[in-house]
C-alpha cells in the first residue's frame, strides 16, 4: 500500500476522515451559496445582509433581507427606493440564504418565484439549477430531473459544466445510468473536475453493465496524482470501490493491487488493509494476508475493520497451522471485545443520560473544525469513534444541524422575551417622565401658538399692503409712529376748532396747513427710501418667520415623538410576547423530539456495534477452544513423532 508517512496513526486517519468527509458535509450547504456582492452597491442595508451572509450567519442575513424586502414592497413608488436596483439579486439571495439555512421548502418557493417571474434567461437557468440542486439534496431525484428539463438553451459558459455534472448525478440517482454516462463523458477534461467526473462515470458505467469500461475509469481515478486532500480521498474511495468489485468478480490478484493503492494514512486505509488481506486469503496466501492484518492489529480497536482483523489474523495463523499463536490471538481478541462491549455499554448509558446532546450543543466545540475528534477528549461523553460513521451520515448531519439550529433559536427567543421586559420598563419610565410634564408644556404651547398665529396674520396683512403699494403708492402707510401721532393731533385740533362754532383764526389754520404740508412733503419725498426700507424689513421678518415656523414644527415633532415614545406599543409588545411564548413552547418540544431522535440514532448505532462484538465474542470463544484443541493435538502428534 502507498505509505506517505511512516508515523501515521489511527487518530490522524480519523482526523482526515472527518475533515475530508464529515466537515465537508457540515459546511456543504454554506458553501453552496453563490450570491455575491453587486458591482456597485446602491443599498447599504442590502450590503449589510451580504455582510452576514458572507459570514454564514444565515438567520441575521435572512431576517434583515426579509425586513428590507417587506419595506420595499410596501412603498408607493418602489422604483425610487435604493433597493430597486438590486431587487432581482435580493430576491435570488433570499432563496439562496434560505437554502443555506436548510429551509429547503421556503428556498424552493422563493426560487420558483424567480423562475416564474420576469427574469433574464441566464438568471432563470441559474435558478432552475439551484432548484434542482435542492431536490437532489433532499433526496427527490425525480423532481430534480423535472426541474432540469426546464433548462433552456443556450446555457451560460459559467453554468454549463456544473449543470451537466448535476444532471449526471441526478440521472444516476434516477437509475438512468446509460444517459448519465452520455452526460458525464464530456466532462472528463473539465478544469476543476479532476477525478470527480471520472469517479461518477465509472460507477454509472458499472451500474449500466459496461463493467470493463467502468473499471477503466475508476482505475484512472485510482491513479490520480494530486495534493488536494479531497481528490486524494476520492482516489482512495475509487480504489476501494474498484477493489470491492474485483473481489466480487473473484479477481483476487487485481483486487489486491488496487487495495494496495489506498494510502496507509488515509481515512479508508483500514478497510483497504482488511480487504487486501482477504484478497490474499482467498488465494490461500495466508502468510501474505497476515501482513495487512497484523498492521491493523496495531490500530484503534474501535475501528470496525480492526475488530474484523482481530478474528482474521488468528484465522490465518490457524490456516498456517500455527495453532498456539492463533489461540493466543483469539484470547487477546476476546479480551478486547469484552473491554469494548463495556465501553459501549458505558457510552449508551451516557447518551441516555443526555450527555451526548449536552456535548454536541457546546458552542466552543462548534467553533473548531476538529470538534468531533475533540468530543472524545471530554469527560463523561460517549465513545465518539464508534459514532463516526453515523456522524458522517446525511441523516445524522441533518438532524444534528436541526438540533443546533433549534438550540440557537431557543436562545434568541429567550433573549427577545427579556428584551420585551426591558422595553416595557423603558416605556413605563418614559411615561412616568413625560406624563406630569406634558400638560404644562401643552398649555404654554397653546399660548405661544395663538400668539404666533396672531403675528403671522399681522405679517400677512403687511405683505398685502406692501403689494398694494407697489400698484398704487400710499405714502401714509409708511408714516412713522411720530408722524402718525402728529397727524392725529392735527386732525383732533382741526375738529376741536370746528366744534367751537367760531371761525378758525387764519394764522392757526395756516399753521395747521403748513404742518400738514410739511408732513405730506416728508412722506412724498422719503417714499421710495421708506418703501425700500420696508421691503428689507419684510425680508428680515420673513427670515424670522421661517425660523419660527421651523421651531414650531420641531416642537410639534418632538412633542409628537414624546408621546410616540411610550404610547401605542402595548398591543405590539403583548402580541410579540404571545408569539414568542408560543414559538418557545413549540420549539422546546421540537428540540426534545429532535434530540431524542439523535440519541436513538446514536444508541442504535452503538447497539448494532455491540451486537456485532457479541457475535465476534461467540466466534472467538469457539475458535479459541478449537485452536487450543488443535494446538494440543499437534503437540501430542509432535511428541509421538
Amino acid at each position: 500500500m502507498e505509505q506517505r508517512n511512516s508515523g501515521y496513526g489511527f487518530e490522524k486517519a480519523m482526523m482526515k476522515l472527518l475533515l475530508v468527509i464529515t466537515l465537508l458535509c457540515m459546511t456543504s450547504v454554506a458553501q453552496a451559496v453563490s450570491t455575491g456582492a453587486p458591482q456597485e452597491l446602491k443599498d447599504l442595508y442590502f450590503g449589510e445582509t451580504l455582510y452576514y451572509a458572507f459570514q454564514e450567519e444565515w438567520f441575521e442575513a435572512i431576517s434583515l433581507l426579509d425586513t428590507e424586502l417587506a419595506q420595499h414592497r410596501g412603498l408607493d413608488q418602489p422604483e425610487l427606493d435604493s433597493l430597486y436596483v438590486h431587487l432581482g439579486l435580493a430576491e435570488f439571495a433570499v432563496g439562496d440564504f434560505e437554502l443555506a439555512y436548510r429551509m429547503h421548502r421556503r428556498a424552493g418557493r422563493a426560487i420558483t418565484e424567480v423562475i416564474n417571474g420576469d427574469v433574464p434567461h441566464d438568471v432563470r437557468n441559474e435558478a432552475i439549477y439551484r432548484l434542482a440542486t435542492i431536490y437532489y439534496h433532499k433526496d427527490q431525484p425525480l423532481n430534480a430531473l423535472y426541474a432540469l428539463e426546464r433548462i433552456e438553451e443556450p446555457v451560460s459558459q459559467g453554468l454549463r459544466a456544473d449543470l451537466d455534472f448535476l444532471r449526471g448525478q441526478v440521472l444516476m440517482a434516477n437509475g438512468r445510468h446509460s444517459e448519465a454516462v452520455g452526460v458525464l463523458l464530456p466532462l472528463q477534461d473539465e478544469v476543476g473536475m479532476k477525478g470527480f467526473a471520472g469517479y461518477n462515470l465509472g460507477i454509472a458505467m458499472i451500474q449500466d453493465g459496461r463493467l470493463e469500461e467502468g473499471r477503466g475509469y475508476l482505475d484512472q481515478v485510482g491513479q490520480l496524482k494530486s495534493d488536494d486532500p479531497v481528490e486524494i480521498a476520492l482516489k482512495d474511495r475509487a480504489n476501494l470501490y474498484l477493489g470491492d468489485k474485483l473481489l466480487q468478480e473473484r479477481a483476487f490478484e487485481k483486487a489486491k493491487r488496487v487495495f494496495d493503492r489506498v494510502r496507509l494514512d488515509g481515512p479508508f486505509s483500514s478497510q483497504a488493509l482488511l480487504k487486501s488481506g482477504w484478497a490474499d486469503a482467498s488465494l490461500d496466501f495466508y502468510d501474505r494476508a497476515l501482513v495487512p492484518w497484523t498492521l491493523l492489529l496495531e490500530r484503534e480497536v474501535t475501528d470496525s475493520s480492526v475488530q474484523d482483523a482481530l478474528l482474521a489474523a488468528p484465522y490465518a495463523y490457524g490456516k498456517l497451522g500455527v495453532y498456539s499463536k492463533a489461540a493466543l490471538l483469539y484470547g487477546a481478541a476476546l479480551e478486547a471485545f469484552s473491554r469494548e462491549i463495556g465501553r459501549l455499554d458505558e457510552s449508551i448509558r451516557l447518551i441516555r443520560e443526555g450527555r451526548f446532546l449536552e456535548t454536541l450543543a457546546r458552542e466552543e466545540l462548534q467553533q473548531d473544525a476538529s470538534w468531533v475528534v475533540r468530543l472524545r477528549e471530554l469527560p463523561d461523553t460517549p465513545e465518539t469513534y464508534y459514532l463516526l460513521e453515523l456522524m458522517a451520515s446525511h441523516d445524522f448531519q441533518e438532524s444534528l444541524h436541526n438540533y443546533l439550529d433549534l438550540d440557537q433559536l431557543r436562545r434568541r427567543l429567550e433573549t427577545w422575551r427579556d428584551d420585551l421586559d426591558a422595553y416595557d420598563e423603558l416605556i413605563a419610565r418614559r411615561k412616568a417622565y413625560y406624563d406630569p410634564l406634558l400638560p404644562a408644556i401643552d398649555a404654554r404651547f397653546r399660548e405661544l401658538d395663538s400668539l404666533m398665529r396672531l403675528r403671522l396674520e399681522q405679517r400677512e396683512r403687511i405683505e398685502r399692503r406692501f403689494e398694494a403699494m407697489l400698484v398704487a403708492p400710499r405714502p401714509d402707510y409708511l408714516a412713522t409712529a411720530e408722524e402718525r401721532v402728529i397727524t392725529d393731533r392735527l386732525e383732533e385740533a382741526s375738529a376741536a376748532l370746528l366744534l367751537t362754532g367760531q371761525p378758525v383764526p387764519a394764522d392757526v389754520e395756516a399753521r395747521i396747513r403748513r404742518i400738514k404740508g410739511l408732513l405730506s412733503w416728508r412722506l412724498q419725498v422719503g417714499y421710495d427710501a421708506r418703501l425700500t426700507e420696508t421691503f428689507t424689513h419684510l425680508e428680515a421678518l420673513d427670515r424670522d418667520v421661517e425660523e419660527l415656523r421651523q421651531s414650531y414644527s420641531t416642537f410639534v415633532r418632538v412633542r409628537q415623538a414624546a408621546t410616540q415614545s411610550y404610547q401605542g406599543y402595548g398591543d405590539d409588545i403583548r402580541r410579540q410576547r404571545m408569539r414568542i411564548g408560543a414559538a418557545l413552547g413549540e420549539l422546546e418540544e421540537l428540540q426534545l423530539r429532535q434530540g431524542h431522535l439523535i440519541e436513538i440514532m446514536a444508541v442504535n448505532e452503538l447497539t448494532r456495534r455491540r451486537e456485532r462484538l457479541e457475535e465476534f465474542q461467540v466466534k472467538a470463544r469457539f475458535a479459541m477452544a478449537d485452536s487450543y484443541d488443535r494446538a494440543v493435538r499437534a503437540g501430542a502428534e509432535e511428541r509421538v513423532k
Binding site: A561, I600, N604
Partner: protein, 173 residues
Amino acid sequence: MNKISVMLLFCITFLLTVPVGTVSGAAAPNGQIKGLDEQVQEIKGDVLAIAAELNQLEERLLFPSHTQISMFLSLAANEQFRLDSVEIKLDGKPVAHHLYSFKELEALRMGGVQRLYTGNVKIGEHAVEVSYAGLSAEGEELRETQQFRIQKDERPGIFDINLARHSISLQDW
C-alpha cells in the same frame, strides 16, 4: 468550473455510497427524520417572522427616524490590507469600537457592509471622527484618522464610511 459545488455534489453521492446504510436505515425511520425536518423549517420561518417584526418595533422604539443615525462601514474595492480595528467618535465621544475577526474581514473584502453604529442625535451639524488600525500586505502598520462634519436632518441619517489603505471617506446616503 465551480470546484466547490462539484465537491459538494460528489460528497452527497459519496455519503450515499459509503457503507453506512445499515446505520441510518436502522437508526431512525426516514419518515420521522423528514417529518421533524419539515417542522423545524416551519418554526424557523415563524421565528424569522418574529425577528422581522421585532426589528421594526425596536427601530421605532429605540431609534425614531428624526433622531436616528446609522454608520455603515465598507472597504474600498480590491483592498487587501488587514483591518484590525475601527473606532468612531461622534461629537467627541466614542460611540463604536470594533475588532475584526478573520470572517468579518473576509465578509468586508467580499463587498459586505457592516452596520457599525446606530444611535440617536439631534437635528443639526455633528462632528464625526473615524480611526482605523491595520496592517498592509507588506507588513506595514497602518493607522489613519479622519474628521468629518455631518448634517442630520429630519430623515434617518445614513452614512457610509469607506476605508482604503491610506484614506477614509464618509458619504451621506
